[in-house]
Symmetry: C2
Subunit: 278 residues, 2 copies
Amino acid sequence: MRTFDSGEKSLKRLAVHTITTKPWSIHEAIQKYSAKGIGGISVWRDTLEGENLSVIGREITDAGLEAVALVRGGFYTGTKEEREKSHEDNLRAIDEAASIGAPQVVLVCGSTPGISIPDCLKQIEDGIGRTVEHAEACGVKLSIEPLHPMYADIRSAVSTMKAANDLCDEINSPVVGVAADVYHIWWDPELEKEIKRCGDADRLFGYHICDWKLDMEDMLQDRGLMGEGVIDVASITRMVDQAGFNGYQEVEVFSKKWWAADQDLYLEAIIDAYLNKC
Amino acid sequence: MRTFDSGEKSLKRLAVHTITTKPWSIHEAIQKYSAKGIGGISVWRDTLEGENLSVIGREITDAGLEAVALVRGGFYTGTKEEREKSHEDNLRAIDEAASIGAPQVVLVCGSTPGISIPDCLKQIEDGIGRTVEHAEACGVKLSIEPLHPMYADIRSAVSTMKAANDLCDEINSPVVGVAADVYHIWWDPELEKEIKRCGDADRLFGYHICDWKLDMEDMLQDRGLMGEGVIDVASITRMVDQAGFNGYQEVEVFSKKWWAADQDLYLEAIIDAYLNKC
């Protein structure tokens, strides 16, 4: 994987999540990102259905891109049966990441109504722990992504950088780390401290950017591009860089509004937002 | 003010926020709550417009109710001008609480886009600090209510019990404490620890209950009654009781759906949810 200098912002350092340009197939996304000189692509698993994964992996590198992450594994909470099923799926996600040449799987850890947050966290710790050996064998890292607390009901009991760091401490494996997404963590008074803690432990594996809009109409699918909202992305980028992060800066936006736009123009807006508004 | 035994759940211990039954005037709310044997009322300031406050205070006590809190003061962040304006308003809120006989003002502390969360917190600390003397003179307490992080953009930079406790430590006045609302804090892995910390410092002044619905349609006005969502209210109530809280249990629900219902039947549903579903 390429690494970047502290403070560097360049098209080469930019990665885009395929979900961001959801209307495009994986082939279109690879071709379009590459044509703009973008350096990285984070691949959502829905785009891989029916595809030959090693062919996709070659297509990515042939286009001059790097696969930054496979998105997403996780959902470790629930009944014994649900947890077994998710375990199998998480092993598959690790295999898929290896097949396309992605160095990490991003984890949305899960939360189950009726199971307390502390108990969910124990199930998550257990679930990740069970896949560590396979991840190591495949050379794939596992990145816990804290989600915004408004998703703590069914998506993730891991709502803060502190909770993610605490989990990593418990699991204590060099392949288990954190993906920090500004949308989920920007509000946290402990943010700078926990980003530093994460970097000091060499476990900051991913950095996702977008924005939190004041006129948000949908709790899931109305994120903004950088500059469209209230997050001081530049300031969080500095914290992350100061914590030693030297990887890609990944744009991950779910937006019905942007998905309805011309995707070529949208990609230009993404690049402009990345270079000039954060 | 009445106090209650640890673990007590009774109509006498139940308080209702006037916003919960928004269609009712303050006079209707007093009369309706009282007729059901409810013990407390938390008064939103919008219901007081054009009213004689000491008359309202007498009306509350004559009905056998206690005024639990005046809701709300706060919004300490912004430009110098905005902060001066809010300071004046916060002094007025303290006066109003004293006039109706409410022992505390609940504070929604504010957050301003373009001002970082740490800087907002400093402005909040300063803003509360400036009103402490007046609050003491009036015999009114000030209760910082941590709001859910999804409101950190414009409503409150205080998003966790830890942040509220830290603020109280800094301000260090016996009249400044915390109102804990399950809707805002249920997701937090640090919850039990920070509730205990709050109780140990004798600063847990209020406890608000409602629920977080899985099918929430509106980030502001679609809260559930206890039992309609995923929050384990009973478990948080135990934490609060174990932390030494002996005050009212206040139902605070913003819900377009419930506001559209027959408010008498709704009040019965509130009582049923309080007695049987949390």
